[in-house]
Amino acid sequence: MSLPSSLGQLVEEAQRLSGPLQNTIRDSIVNSIYTTAESIAAGAVTTGDPERTDWDRKIDNILTSPVWGFPIMLGLLVLVFWVTITGANIPSAMLAEGLFWIEARLTDFFMAVNAPAWLHGFLVLGVYRSLAWVVSVMLPPMAIFFPMFTLLEDSGYLPRVAFNLDRFFKKAGAHGKQALTMSMGFGCNAAGIIACRVIDSPRERLIATLTNVFVPCNGRFPTLIALAMIFVGGSVALSLAGAVATLAVAGLVVLGIAITLFVSWLLSKTLLKGTPSSFTLELPPYRRPQIAQVILRSMLDRTIFVLTRAMIIAAPAGGIIWILANTHIGDTSILAALAGWLDPFAQHMGLDGFILTAFILGLPANEIVLPILIMSYVSGGAMMELDSLAALRQLLVDQHGWTWLTALCTMIFILCHWPCGTTLFTIQKEQHRWRWTLLAVAIPTAMGIILCITVNYLAQGLGLI
């Protein structure tokens, strides 16, 4: 037997196999892998008691039932918000009190050493005050929200949400796992966009990335909650205020989900045409969450991480905004001049120039939008010590003529506007294309402007205000 002829045989054999028989070969490879794996597993693995599986099935019977599946999802959403809103109130007030007490001592110190007014203004009224605001407003809701969310994640409930909702995402040309990336977005949109890696198809991952911002993140929740408490909760008895505000926020979140589905559908019909890719979703067995680990992980990985990020951004931003509010050209500060210039357009959207300015200056982090607004509203040019919602209500309603429509339009714009700097940076890093980052700005901004103008003129036209 000569070498050339045996090689020739091999080549012939290879050609035969890589031709039409390719699939058969692959199948038999997979088949033999599974046969081997099965025989190994049969010898080594003992299956636990079947009652466990029964339990999983029984839980699934309820959580994914045609009758109870959706009400339970909505109920859990409302419950998480309600606990966050009512639970965060008291620690928030206590933190604010403590941090502003420290501020007073800092002021005393600056007085004692005869520091120039501008230095005190920049460092204490600008940098420190925005830090204090961010910590006292954000830390308590995050410390409640993130552990609860991690608990849901740990128990295995989230894949069931994806299972329940997949049909809607499929109709919108998107991936069912987008429900998971959206849930992450409640914590932080940048985290949600990183989570989009779980979607294999590039087209559907891009859809999930571009629409993630329609889920309000933790930086926006406190503002939404505060406005809901003032304008929605404020109109009913005090004992009901928390519950009514919760429903308002939950309603806004449902609106955000509806917008997500609509924009996903629009994208997959226009810019990102294509058929849905293959979808497989594992529904893992339910697990009893490990409470200690959940608390530790959600605190370190999420709460501290997000808070640190917010503080790093808020500190310099607070200083810069103090400068903008206190540098005068003629009679008006730069901040007021910018607000005056934006005012005509903002009025169409049911907002005012200061609100729109606050959103623009809030690009580094959404959590500083409200502090900027307050800083630019109060004549002193520094953020107020807003230790109570009553003080905020007085500032907005009595001094700056806010109506429920102003609040509603502001809340809609909080839900639909450009993503924060960190999120944009993350999108750029994940997608590597400027056009997608720009689109991530353009889509929610356009949605927000259209919605605000529509709501504003509709309410005025119908004589509701």
Binding site: D27, V30, D60, T64, G69, S277, T280, P285
Partner: protein, 78 residues
């Protein structure tokens, strides 16, 4: 009931045997990787509240598949 049907039209609660996977390319790979090789016994567990996807018990793991994928797997009664 004899003869073959597709995985998505097997009734909830029934057990079926995989006969063939009729997909090509990536989808085929996916389905095979899940363990849907000919001869595998699959239990149809439940449908999602709105009918699709459907959850199957494949080799001990609960996997949900959309109609697009499950209709590509022909099965026979077990």
């Amino acid at each position: 009931m004899y003869g073959s049907t597709t995985l998505n039209s097997a009734p909830v609660g029934s057990f079926v045997l995989v006969k063939e996977v009729n997909a090509e390319g990536l989808t085929r790979r996916r389905l095979l990787d899940l363990g849907l090789v000919p001869g595998t016994r699959v239990e149809v567990i439940r449908r999602s509240p709105v009918g699709d996807p459907i959850a199957f018990n494949i080799r001990g793991a609960v996997i949900a598949l959309r109609q697009e994928e499950s209709s590509k797997v022909t099965v026979i009664d077990s």
